[in-house]
Point group: D2
Chain length 149, copies 4
């Protein structure tokens, strides 16, 4: 595994606009759904993390729209944790359509860890470990002698 | 004044769908914006009411779509408090386009007053008075000898 | 089969509002996604129907919100064609959460068949047959001696 | 005037999420509404441009969220045409809240001019002139001896 998580979605009618294609704001909503699934696949629920008083506030987003997507298209959102720092996390995304193997869009979001008060704070080590995810990457991130307990 | 409050909106691109018209879910969002303005015009802010721990949960909605609306259309949402009971409020709405005087849609929403815990509770008298709004209607709702203090 | 089609969705973060629950306009969007899946399960694609120049314009919607739904909830939309007339179709819906077997909402939408010009027209017989769906109901709707060819 | 156009919006309930703040996807929708108003202030309607068979497809978007915005906040979207090239236009945006003079977000979108077929094409000169907008900038873009007729 190279760290990419895949989330399948089907384009809803309401997600299209009068150009007949997916409205560009929806990609941010799909990225968010994909992050939520990535967290679950990494062993924790973003919902529970919020219930624990931790928020991953979106601080930046970047999107490049490569090719339009259409109503009822089946799309795959590929998501990866690109970087985990002491107070921030960066995700990267690719949206493609398996039917014709077209890259529809690609993007990036940067998040700050905050408490309920929206004040920035350190990411707790166990969340860092889970966000980073697979064993090999974890190995690199936490060499044996400094692994979080 | 007959109790109708008017809110002007302009149709956004994102509110259209591939039919080239306003997607039908947006009317509920406009009704909500119109309720918020109606509250302000009746002397209170819905935001502050929520900060006071009171929510007006939507319990029912009904919509009849009469004629399509289009991108950049200027529309007017006419809103009225139709009924205030001890625990519920009913609003009615009309959406029309002044340019050609077309009735675009009409609808109704019914709300339950709850606390932050989403448990149903009595509507405090001073909110009742403000919701009912104009003097004449207030008169009927609260005859002199039983007016809320 | 009693004519109900089931569509599973997971609540997205963007679908919540500051009350911490699903915003009530999203149910109309989910109903639409569920109609699209019902059509596919009945042997046709709504996308292709539109490509054929036929639209199912929403003429009315009714919703009763019974219990709030939350971020990351897995919900099931049960959808059924309630009535097919010469120019209109009525769908009914139930949204429930299998985890605790709670009925979250129920609703209804009424649609008019139109051409690209948004003028009302007769529903072609073969679409009627597919909309009605299962064999038994089809039998009742089209007794042997008047079946569409 | 330095080329900035201002558009006022008020945050709708549906635009908030369970964090209690504006969901980050809405900024793209506001930017779009602001572009539409900027076009009108520059003497043309984006709706009519599309009716003429010209689309300004979004090719890139970038957003930096600086400070959360809240339900019922009155916000101002400042918009400017940053660059007009032969086939593309770049807009920049600032969202601020006049009440406390806070910069809420800033961003950028890049658009490609296409026909109805979504194929990239040259921006017609008269649209270039109107997009660029004010006289002084127009002067620089089209010196006297090569002004579009």
């Amino acid at each position: 595994m190279d760290g990419w998580h895949e989330t399948a979605i089907r384009v809803r009618y309401a997600e299209t606009d009068k150009m007949g294609i997916v409205h560009h704001a929806n990609y941010l909503i799909w990225f968010e759904a994909a992050r939520s699934e990535l967290c679950r696949s990494h062993g924790f629920s973003y919902r529970e993390m919020e219930a624990d008083g931790l928020l991953m506030l979106v601080a930046e987003s970047y999107l490049r729209y490569k090719s339009p997507a259409f109503y009822e298209d089946e799309l795959v959102i590929r998501t990866k944790v690109a970087e985990v720092r002491s107070r921030s996390i960066r995700f990267v995304y690719e949206v493609y359509r398996p039917d014709d193997d077209i890259l529809v869009a690609e993007g990036e979001t940067m998040h700050l860890m905050t408490g309920i008060d929206k004040k920035i704070r350190l990411i707790p080590e166990h969340y860092k470990v889970m966000l980073i995810g697979d064993d090999e990457q974890r190995e690199r991130a936490f060499p044996a002698n400094q692994a979080p307990s």
